[in-house]
């Protein structure tokens, strides 16, 4: 994992710094009077006058201390800006993972146990549409239908302006109303993918000998499916769930921008627009680390559902 993180920092650093148009250019773009001397001073201030490898080494040392430097835009510490935003993004992602899991697995299992039925065909069509829908477009359409036309749900932010005057339950209801669309839509595409995986994984499992054994000894079909088949079918599904983390984090940029959610994605979008290198670097790396953590969690839960992994370690 450490070489992975190292590689990730190196790539982010190289890509961002080799690109033309630095923050100094952005800052002096508006004032044509800025002299060459002023530009040099600015560069020195940001440490941009040193050779690239020195800048990278400086940055790496600070990275180990979780110090990503200060934002070029407002001078606040990058790490504070990010930690302030991360909880929102993680909450939404975890909620949508839970929703995805709770809906996709039953769909996959049902369509596998009733292969070639009408239900199976309908879900296949749904899966293809789910894969092909631009999610930001779906978000727009849902905003028009539920927010504008029907007026049922708010279309931006994560809480109402008058939230401070509410009691706990009203706040909970308020957050729920704000989160239904973002969570539901980011789950939508993931449901398509995951239900497909659980279907094929289930199809593979129910052809195994031990399932025939379970049926042969007279177990009820529901027990065969839930106790014997499902546990085995879930293993690859759990891995896929872990692998879907980068997509979710990346998708956050569009969702948070559309719904004006103050999360990491929105911060990233704002910092790319203002070429705020330290913040861009910080989010890139933290996003990649979150992805690695997601993969690690997937490995751990894999061990939880698969007894063979545990036995081999003892």
């Amino acid at each position: 994992m450490v070489p992975l993180i190292f590689g990730i920092t190196l790539i982010s650093f190289t890509v961002i710094h080799l690109a033309p148009g630095g923050p100094v250019e952005v800052e002096t773009e508006m004032s044509l009077k800025a002299s060459t001397q002023a530009r040099e001073n600015l560069k020195k201030l940001y440490g941009l006058d040193k050779p690239l490898h020195v800048q990278y080494a400086d940055w790496l040392i600070r990275f180990v201390k979780l110090d990503f430097g200060k934002s070029f835009v407002d001078g606040n510490k990058v790490i504070d800006k990010i930690t302030e935003r991360v909880p929102v993004t993680i909450t939404i992602n975890i909620l949508s993972l839970i929703v995805t899991f709770c809906i996709a697995v039953p769909i996959g299992v049902l369509s596998a146990t009733r292969q070639f039925s009408i239900f199976d065909k309908l879900t296949t069509i749904f899966v293809f549409i789910g894969f092909s829908t631009p999610h930001f477009w779906l978000a727009l359409i849902c905003m028009i239908v539920f927010g504008v036309t029907l007026g049922w749900l708010p279309i931006s932010g994560i809480q109402s302006i008058d939230i401070s005057g509410m009691n706990f339950f009203e706040r909970l209801a308020d957050w729920t109303r704000h989160l239904i669309l973002p969570v539901g839509i980011s789950a939508f595409g993931a449901i398509a993918g995951l239900s497909r995986y659980s279907r094929s994984s289930m199809l593979e499992v129910i052809r195994q000998d031990y399932i025939r054994t379970a049926r042969a000894k007279g177990l009820k079909e529901s027990q065969v499916i839930i106790r014997h088949a499902l546990r085995n079918a879930l293993m690859p599904v759990v891995t896929i769930l872990g692998l879907s983390v980068p997509g979710l984090i990346g998708g956050a940029v569009i969702f948070e921008t559309i719904f004006s959610i103050p999360g990491m994605g929105q911060l990233f979008y704002q910092s790319t627009m203002s070429r705020d290198y330290p913040t861009i670097m910080g989010i890139l790396v933290i996003g990649a680390v979150l992805t690695l953590i997601g993969n690690l969690l997937a490995d751990i839960s894999y061990a939880l559902v698969d007894p063979r992994v545990r036995i081999s370690k003892e």
Partner: protein, 280 residues
């Protein structure tokens, strides 16, 4: 060979429908100047945000530009982005996968580590960072999407080559003194391409989605040039008054991407020799 594949492919009605839609859209894109009813960038201040009707079949946007014409011209963007981005991704993927699979050892270890790193990146962040820093344009998008989506292809090619490189025909080619380059590109690769074709088809679908997302964020095709994604940006800005700006371009993206996915699925089934004998 091609006849067998086509025979299998045409039994899949959805895949045929997908192919038909793709060809139709390609025709529309090529003949855009002939069939678009209006100039896609012509501003008409008297018809700002007019609803779909007989004059403007799909309505007009906030500058009075005809949405249908902009969508017809926009189809060129998705076609171009899809194919160029995937072309780049496949070229990189094939080269890295081939080197990795053929030489093995340290080359393989280093290259596959690199693939792991690229896969751990939230790719969309990387794309966004690069595009915001380099001038956003259609060529930037194509290149960046290409450079961030080659990893699956390289893994596929590597796996195929690992399976092929010890086969007799490869040993024979080596025995008569063919260069590594020749062995890889003339003898091994042609046998390893069918999963790449399938992956490429899905890749076009993915690239079109990413392009529309980027253009939607204002980081893709720059106005006044039309693209399905940047019409949707106006859709968001005028969400309470002009639903047609949001609805139609999205449907166009959905149908196009769906078609590529259906064709990819059809190709996968018909290119896999293991499925030829079993069942119908």
């Amino acid at each position: 060979m091609i006849e067998i594949i086509w025979d299998r492919y045409k039994k899949n009605h959805l895949a045929i429908a997908g192919l038909f839609v793709i060809l139709t859209i390609a025709t529309i894109a090529v003949s855009a100047p002939l069939i678009a009813p209006y100039n896609p960038t012509a501003i008409d201040v008297y018809n700002v945000l007019s609803a779909p009707g007989t004059d403007h079949l799909l309505g007009t946007d906030e500058l009075g530009r005809d949405v249908l014409s902009r969508m017809i011209w926009g189809s060129r963007v998705s076609l171009k982005v899809g194919f160029v981005a995937v072309g780049i991704a496949i070229s990189i993927g094939i080269i890295i996968g081939a080197l990795s699979g053929f030489y093995g050892g340290k080359t393989d270890a280093v290259l596959m580590r690199f693939v792991d790193i690229m896969l751990a990146f939230p790719t969309f962040f990387l794309i966004l960072a690069v595009i915001a820093i380099v001038e956003p344009s259609i060529s930037t998008i194509m290149i960046v999407i290409g450079f961030t989506s080659w990893m699956d292809v390289s893994r596929l090619v590597r796996a195929e080559i690992l399976g092929l490189k010890e086969r007799d025909f490869v040993l024979a080619a080596k025995a008569i003194g063919a260069s590594d380059f020749r062995v890889i590109f003339r003898h091994i690769l042609p046998n390893a391409l069918s999963p790449v074709f399938v992956s490429a088809t899905f890749g076009v679908a993915g690239a079109i989605l990413v392009e529309s997302g980027l253009s939607f964020l204002g980081l893709g095709v720059q106005p006044p040039d039309p693209s399905w994604g940047n019409i949707l940006t106006s859709g968001k800005d005028y969400i309470t008054v002009a639903w047609w700006l949001s609805l139609y371009p999205g449907i166009a993206i959905l149908i196009t991407v769906l078609s590529y996915n259906l064709v990819g699925e059809g190709l996968r089934d018909s290119l896999d020799p293991r499925l030829w004998r079993s069942g119908k």
